[in-house]
């Protein structure tokens, strides 16, 4: 991914989080907890499990459609970050070649199953994380973390990081462009200039932090970032949590998918 694409990507994700849908209106805490439970549930399936993972796609699909998040955007992002997991997983089919099942006469090795399982888990976990941001907004997640007991210092720092992420990335982007404009071919883009560039960016970041600190002081800052409590857990948040937990529990502990398959098979026999 190029710099611009990366930058615009987070900008886009961020903009999505300011939409106005029922999913966006849920309390951030409920969404954070639900997402964490979802992740743990998905991850807890053993390594050869494939079929039982299918129903879990309902969670991201519901968030995506009810939250009006473009499917293609999420899919593209999931694919963009997949290399590491695929790279590690792709060895399984070659290393674990014991057949564990024969389907319609074709033997299937354990390696392929576990690889497929990694891919499915990957798609589920990554899309869940992206959807958390896309439906909650970064500040929302931060406030949730704060309320869930994360240290205040860590959270306010995270908020500053988020705020200046965009400013500094834009700054970096413009510096790169300026360098590009006056570099021809590979001249001027070596490590030496690169180090200077990083150095300049660093100095500016420090200067900026100083000015921000002044701005904070001039508005009465005394060491604590104040916080207006703006959200309360409502009935619908509890409902959302309860439904998520029930859904996760049912599909984690009962092989429903397979049973559906059997019933279908019976019907068509």
């Amino acid at each position: 991914m190029t710099f611009d694409e990366k930058y615009f990507d987070i900008g886009r994700l961020d903009r999505l989080s300011y939409r106005d849908t029922c999913v966006h209106h849920l309390d951030p805490r409920a969404k954070v907890i639900a997402t964490m439970l979802f992740l743990i549930t998905v991850i807890s399936f053993p390594k050869y499990e494939v079929v039982a993972l299918a129903p879990f796609f309902l969670f991201p699909v519901l968030l995506m459609t009810l939250g009006e998040i473009p499917v293609r955007f999420i899919v593209k992002k999931v694919i963009a970050v997949s290399p590491f997991a695929i790279f590690i997983g792709i060895f399984n089919p070659f290393l674990d070649i014991r057949p564990v099942a024969v389907i319609l006469g074709v033997p299937i090795s354990g390696g392929w199953l576990s690889f497929l399982s990694i891919i499915l888990k990957f798609a589920l976990t990554v899309s869940a994380a992206l959807l958390l941001i896309a439906t909650t907004s970064f500040p929302g997640v931060c406030h949730a973390l704060r309320r869930l007991g994360f240290p205040a210092l860590f959270v306010s720092q995270l908020l500053f990081l988020y705020r200046y992420l965009f400013v500094l990335m834009e700054e970096a982007m413009r510096i790169i462009r300026a360098r590009e404009m006056r570099s021809f071919g590979s001249r001027g883009t070596g490590v030496k200039v690169f180090v200077r560039l990083i150095g300049i960016l660093f100095l500016r970041a420090v200067d900026r932090a100083e000015r921000i600190y002044y701005a904070m002081l001039s508005r009465g800052f005394q060491g604590d970032i104040p916080d207006l409590k703006r959200s309360r857990i409502a009935f619908r948040d509890l409902g959302f949590m309860a439904m998520t937990i029930a859904f996760l529990a049912v599909f984690r502990f009962f092989p429903i998918t397979e049973r559906i398959g059997r019933v279908a098979q019976e019907l068509f026999r």
Binding site: F194, V195, G199, F202, G261, V263, A264
Partner: protein, 346 residues
């Protein structure tokens, strides 16, 4: 080398989460007591800086895609260990959330690998003792390279261990290590150069800035080796304890991969414990070609398999595949249905 959720088992994931949460709490507490207010925006902005810098990373050939411009080391040198750790933790959090780099469960691992090692361990044990108050560029260069290399090696090794302990990958220990360590050696050397370059550049261009940061960093010097070692010992005990607790309640693949790590490098023969049971079970199922066509209702079978491998029976059967297809189809239909209804309303 961000760890990914999909490669993790819950035991490993939650243990490292607990570990990093503990360190985060510790760092916040340390800073809160002694912090200068001006550190709060500084930390946030420098976190954003690390991001921006990592994105420029692409211009250096040979460092791979997801840049990690020795972020941890630069910050530790400039801000001191506690602040640097918090900044790294938030950088990685943003990465997990916005780029899905890693993932939320793997965040614990990633903060541990890329935050704890450089900021606490390597900074206190290598960089600080070596460089001290010295302003000698040569010394800074050598120390930076050493530090970044060691930190990355530790991080890479941890990725190997975390993956193997989770038991989702079949990669033998030795192969995996040989894959990870040398790449990170190369990356480390480049990053070490850049780290030293930036530190030296900043030192020469604006010495007053470094000093003003250093002034608001009374604790940089105060971190003693003893304390660091103690903290690590305590964390190691906690981690070990938690891991073994998880291992005993939910041995999913753990002992099997430990055996793999310590024993033979090639495909291991799994002869005992859960692994053996599993193998027997697989053999039973694998050579029954018409297994999938058995009528439904084998309730009892599912029951006895469920504690450790609830799904293996379903895992490869034809009915499982049919079921999955129906379920996925339904989900897609639900999704499209909602879209259509939405569009009508809108």
């Amino acid at each position: 080398m961000h760890m990914a959720d999909a490669l993790l088992s819950p035991a490993v994931g939650t243990t490292l989460w607990a570990g990093t949460a503990a360190v985060t709490g510790y760092a916040s507490k340390k800073l809160k007591r002694e912090i200068d207010d001006r550190m709060i925006p500084l930390m946030g902005v420098l976190g954003a800086f690390i991001f921006a810098a990592q994105m420029i990373n692409f211009t250096i050939p040979g460092t791979g895609s997801s840049g990690h411009l020795g972020g941890g080391m630069i910050l530790a040198i400039l801000l001191g260990p506690h602040a640097a750790f918090l900044v790294m933790a938030s950088v990685l959090t943003v990465q997990a959330l916005f780029f899905a780099d890693g993932g939320l469960l793997a965040l614990g691992c990633n903060i541990w690998n890329l935050g704890v090692y450089p900021c606490y361990l390597v900074y206190s044990l290598i960089y600080k003792p070596w460089v001290g108050e010295s302003k000698n560029p040569g010394r800074i260069l050598v120390a930076s390279i050493m530090s970044v290399v060691v930190a990355l090696q530790l991080g890479a090794f941890s990725v190997v261990m975390e993956t193997l302990l989770s038991g989702k990958s079949e990669l033998p220990f030795s192969t995996f290590v040989l894959m990870m360590q040398p790449i990170h050696l190369a990356i480390g050397i480049v990053e070490g150069f850049v780290t030293a370059g930036v530190i030296n550049y900043v030192r020469s261009a604006r010495p007053e800035i470094l000093e003003s940061i250093a002034v608001s960093r009374p604790l940089g010097a105060e971190v003693s080796l003893k304390k660091v070692m103690m903290t690590f010992a305590v964390l190691a005990v906690i981690t070990g304890g938690a891991l073994s607790w998880f291992a005993s309640t939910n041995p999913d693949g753990l002992e099997w991969s430990i055996e793999k790590v310590t024993g033979k490098g090639e495909l291991p023969e799994q002869e005992h414990g859960i692994a053996a049971a599993l193998k027997g079970f697989q053999e039973k199922t694998a050579f029954l070609p018409d297994y999938g066509f058995k009528p439904a209702g084998s309730e009892s079978k599912k029951e006895d398999a469920s504690p450790s491998w609830p799904g293996i029976e379903a895992g490869a059967s034809v009915s499982g595949i049919i079921g999955a297809a129906i379920v996925l189809g339904t989900i897609v239909l639900i999704g499209m249905g909602i879209r259509v209804v939405r569009r009508r309303q809108g």
